[in-house]
């Protein structure tokens, strides 16, 4: 358990709804769910969610903190926004799911090795480094996230795709040597660090 997690547990005791309202992006909307289930029925990856958004909202109200934060359900979100546009109560469900995933990740409660969690981190690190996403480095990093051996296998499996893209001039091998990036990398680093510092302070994550 992380320090942040212990602090949150101390601050909110059994009131998980209050914790979500304070610390999770758009969390103040959770109480407004009317349990119609349209979100659950609208999700393209619906069958793969152990707990649908509808259930997650109910679990938050029922104080099921561990079950929610250790769940890999939120990580099934493809950001298709179908739930948002269909929600009769206009809850920003996609953002709440993102917010819960991020909160669980930052508290160290999200499932270890959850693939979307892993690539989300790789993606963000990749983008913060140069200010832009380097598709080749990102792809390679993804293939090698499970270790060198698996990485070679993954890369071999997708070799056809990679070579095809190179042929179609849509993947540039020279990207490895530098490639695209912002000029003001230093400014971006400082800016992102500052934003994170502010948010962590606000949410008790630092």
């Amino acid at each position: 358990m992380s320090d942040a997690n212990n602090r949150a547990l101390g601050a909110y005791r059994s009131n998980f709804l209050k914790e979500v309202e304070a610390n999770v992006e758009e969390g103040h909307w959770v109480k407004m769910c009317m349990q119609c289930g349209v979100c659950a029925g609208s999700c393209p990856l619906g069958p793969h969610w152990q707990h649908s958004p509808q259930k997650i909202f109910m679990m938050i109200r029922a104080g099921k903190r561990d079950e929610v934060l250790t769940s890999d359900s939120m990580w099934m979100c493809t950001s298709c926004y179908n739930c948002i546009v269909r929600c009769p109560r206009k809850l920003p469900i996609t953002h709440i799911m993102h917010g819960l995933a991020n909160y669980a990740h930052r508290l160290g409660l999200a499932p270890k090795g959850q693939p979307t969690r892993e690539i989300a981190k790789l993606f963000w690190d990749n983008l913060v480094k140069t200010g832009r996403v380097n598709e080749l480095k990102f792809s390679l990093a993804m293939y090698f996230k499970d270790g060198f051996g698996q990485g070679i296998k993954n890369a071999m499996a997708m070799q056809g795709v990679g070579l095809g893209l190179v042929k179609a001039k849509r993947l540039n091998p020279l990207e490895l040597l530098g490639g695209h990036g912002c000029k003001d990398k230093a400014g971006i680093h400082k800016m992102v660090a500052k934003a994170r510092e502010i948010e962590d302070r606000r949410k008790g994550l630092a």
């Binding site: 709804l17 109480k31 009317m34 349990q35 509808q54 259930k55 109910m58 679990m59 029922a62 109560r89």
Partner: protein
């Protein structure tokens, strides 16, 4: 009686003259219809055509006229001749617009038109101009029973419209259930916060209104009479009786709450478990401060259990939803949240039902932090810490929640008085001499609200679950006791907003009733009708079918057990006429003869002509308009049918069926309104009676050696214009398969 002079007027307008041989129709009216005057006009409903008829009435002594033009439902104002008896032969909607176009159909089309002219002439010969009711009923005061929100609202609405009101209230003060409430569910935008009930102000308005006489601590000891001439005996608690003559009655006797002692599994009767009324009392005592339990402890957590003893499928408790309780619990949860946002408030619901603008109220409570849990409570344990065991219906698991206080949202039980079905069973026994039943009858009478002296029992008939019957699909304030209107939760479960709206509607109906009664007219739906039923008593066999089957309790029995008609209670549906086995009941303008003569006037071809004849008896309220509308939209149907409008299928006397079959008709279609639990019959029970009677006719058919398919009964709604044409065509095809009636030629 002055000499009758019969005239037929045939219109050739609207294309009638282009397609039909009007000369031949004139000849039929003259020779077969025996009309003394026969005229045609190319535009009969215009000023000139109407003047021609008026002149004939004024100068030529015409007393009876058959207008062969459009449907009786069209041009009713132009063809209104109050001093003459008028029949209408429907050549436009009934022939021109429904028979297939083209010369192939000229022959059958002309035959159809000729039959309608024959029928119109035959009908008018049997009609009389209604002379009006000599029994004046001119009292226009309105009695309101019950001084709660519904009753006070009805009283004020009627008084504001200029009618004197008598209000009878059982308790010592006005206000009813609302008096116990801290606030009411919002009824104004933005529907976010509970609002003051306004009950004190309303009570003061009633008390201060010079047009309203209020009897407190009073009940009705007896109510006799009929619209325009009711006589109510108002008994005070002290024993004093005041007689009040009134013209109409609004019954707004409200509800009682379901007794939580019947819900021990939900903690009913245990400490710190209350119903919604109990919570109002605690909140009233708190006076805006922290709400305390009976033991004085400040409540820091509360669970509202919705549907407690309601929507019960086991048959033990109330089977219905009372409609207001979700919003009421939301309001009560806000009492806690508004006093202290840190109080944990959980509303445990199965389906949150907040009709009207309640959704905004629900959202407002969510914003305040009221928690809503979709779950079904199976057990509540009262005590210092109450425990609610429930099934979480989203997470699909058993769970418990603790609370300082549990509120059970129980339902409304109507205060509608005596159940007439139970009553009539007891009365039958008592009349047979059963002493216990006699005592029970008196016991039941003491629980009656209205204490009507009607033969059919002392209160309004109930429909479902003890609520007073009202025509809730089409005419929500209409009951089965003419001039007596139910308003508020006595009629169906409802909240205060709906009850007040209801009360206003009922007050208006009461006003209509006294106005119609004083003009000698029928009440809804034949509000223009001056006719009323009369019985040829010398033929009566005292079978009582008319008194039993009248949906409105209009017929009592006199000392000799003959039917005694209360004209102002009568709605002119003719169900009594349909019921009478010896056909002694008739109206001046509608009788067994007016219809029977039409049936017989039709020219039924012999079987070799292969032209079947189908009689349609269509209810004038829905089915006949649907037929007209089929015409209006040019939905073609068979030219072999002959349609006769009837006031209600309930008025169909089986003699018409036998007459038609004997005359060689191949089939008969009865078309009436929907019956049963979701009835749409304008006379509530008429179509049901018809179905019942027709179910018995199969035997008759068999005796005649006829197939049961030759009489078919259908439910037809006013919107069924497409369906009705298809129904006719299917039936005619079916009859052609069966073959011609073997009765042809014997009639």
């Amino acid at each position: 009686m002055a000499d009758n002079k019969f005239a037929a007027y045939i219109c050739s307008g609207c294309g009638i003259g282009d397609v039909l041989d009007v000369k031949s129709l004139e000849k039929i009216a003259q020779k077969e219809g025996k009309m003394a005057v026969v005229k045609n006009h190319s535009f009969l409903c215009n000023a000139e055509g109407v003047q021609m008829i008026r002149d004939d009435i004024a100068n030529d002594g015409v007393t009876h006229l058959c207008i062969a033009a459009c449907s009786r439902r069209a041009k009713a104002e132009a063809f209104s001749f109050p001093t003459a008896a008028v029949s209408r032969a429907n050549l436009r909607e009934g022939v021109l617009w429904v028979v297939a176009e083209g010369s192939d159909h000229d022959e059958v089309r002309q035959e159809m038109a000729e039959d309608y002219v024959r029928m119109g002439c035959a009908e008018v010969k049997k009609m009389k101009v209604p002379a009006g009711n000599p029994n004046k009923a001119e009292n226009k005061r309105i009695l309101v029973v019950g001084g709660g929100m519904s009753g006070m609202t009805a009283a004020l609405a009627a008084a504001d419209a200029g009618y004197d009101v008598v209000l009878v209230e059982k308790t010592g003060s006005l206000g009813g259930f609302a008096r116990n409430l801290v606030k009411r569910v919002p009824f104004n935008a933005p529907h976010a916060e509970a609002q003051p009930t306004g009950v004190e102000e309303l009570a003061a308005q009633v008390a201060g209104n010079p047009g309203i006489t209020v009897h407190l601590n009073s009940t009705l000891a007896e109510t006799a009479g009929s619209p325009g001439r009711f006589l109510a005996k108002v008994a005070q608690e002290s024993g004093a009786v005041t007689e009040e003559a009134v013209g109409a009655i609004v019954q707004a006797t409200g509800f009682t709450t379901y007794d939580i002692a019947k819900l021990p599994e939900l903690g009913g009767g245990q400490a710190n478990v209350v119903d919604q009324a109990g919570l109002e009392a605690l909140a009233k005592a708190a006076n805006g401060g922290a709400i305390k339990r009976a033991d004085g402890k400040i409540v820091s957590s509360v669970v509202f259990v919705q549907c407690a003893g309601q929507r019960d499928e086991t048959g033990t408790h109330l089977p219905y939803c009372s409609g207001h309780c979700c919003a009421t619990s939301i309001k009560q949860a806000m009492y806690f949240k508004d006093a202290n946002p840190d109080v944990d408030t959980v509303v445990m619901y199965q389906d949150l039902r907040v009709p009207g603008m309640g959704e905004d109220f629900y959202r407002s409570a969510q914003k305040k932090g009221v928690l809503f849990t979709k779950g079904k409570a199976s057990r509540v344990a009262g005590g210092d810490t109450c425990k609610v065991t429930f099934r979480d219906l989203i997470l699909d698991e058993e769970n418990t929640v603790d609370a300082d206080l549990v509120v059970l949202a129980t339902g409304q039980v109507p205060s509608a008085g005596v159940d007439l079905d139970a009553w009539s069973a007891v009365v039958t026994k008592a009349e047979g001499g059963d002493e216990a039943a006699k005592a029970q009858r008196e016991e039941m009478r003491s629980t009656s609200v209205l204490k009507l002296t009607y033969r059919q029992g002392p209160d309004m008939p109930q429909f479902k679950h003890g609520f007073a019957d009202s025509h809730f699909i089409c005419f929500p304030y209409e009951t089965r006791r003419t001039g007596i209107y139910a308003a508020g939760p006595v009629r169906r479960p409802m909240d205060m907003f709906q009850a007040q709206e209801d009360a206003t509607g009922a007050a208006l109906k009461a006003i209509q009733a006294v106005e119609n009664a004083s003009a000698g007219r029928a009440a809804h739906p034949r509000a223009w009708d001056l006719s009323f039923p009369s019985a040829r008593l010398e033929g009566c066999t005292q079978c009582k079918r008319c008194t039993v089957e009248c949906p409105f309790g209009a017929i009592d029995e006199d000392e000799r057990r003959f039917p005694l008609f209360n004209e102002q209670r009568c709605r002119r549906c003719g169900t009594c006429m349909g019921a009478c086995p010896v056909r002694v009941i008739s109206f001046e303008n509608y009788s067994c003869d007016t219809v029977g003569s039409q049936i017989k006037a039709v020219n039924v071809p012999d079987e070799f002509e292969e032209k079947p004849r189908v009689l349609i008896l269509a209810c004038e309220n829905d089915a006949y308009p649907a037929l007209d509308m089929a015409g209006l939209q040019r939905h073609v149907y068979s030219a072999f049918v002959r349609a006769i409008p009837v006031r209600c299928l309930g008025s169909v006397n089986t003699i018409w069926i036998t007459d038609a079959l004997n005359s060689g008709y191949d089939g008969i279609m009865l078309m009436g309104c929907k019956k049963g639990d979701d009835y749409q019959c304008h006379f509530v029970k008429g179509s049901e009676m018809a179905y019942y009677r027709m179910s018995k006719i199969d035997d008759t058919l068999k005796q005649l050696g006829l197939e049961p398919e030759r009489v078919a009964t259908h439910e037809v709604a006013i919107t069924d214009n497409v369906r009705v044409a298809r129904m006719i065509n299917d039936y005619v095809a079916q009859l052609q398969d069966i073959g011609p009636s073997p009765m042809k030629g014997f009639g």
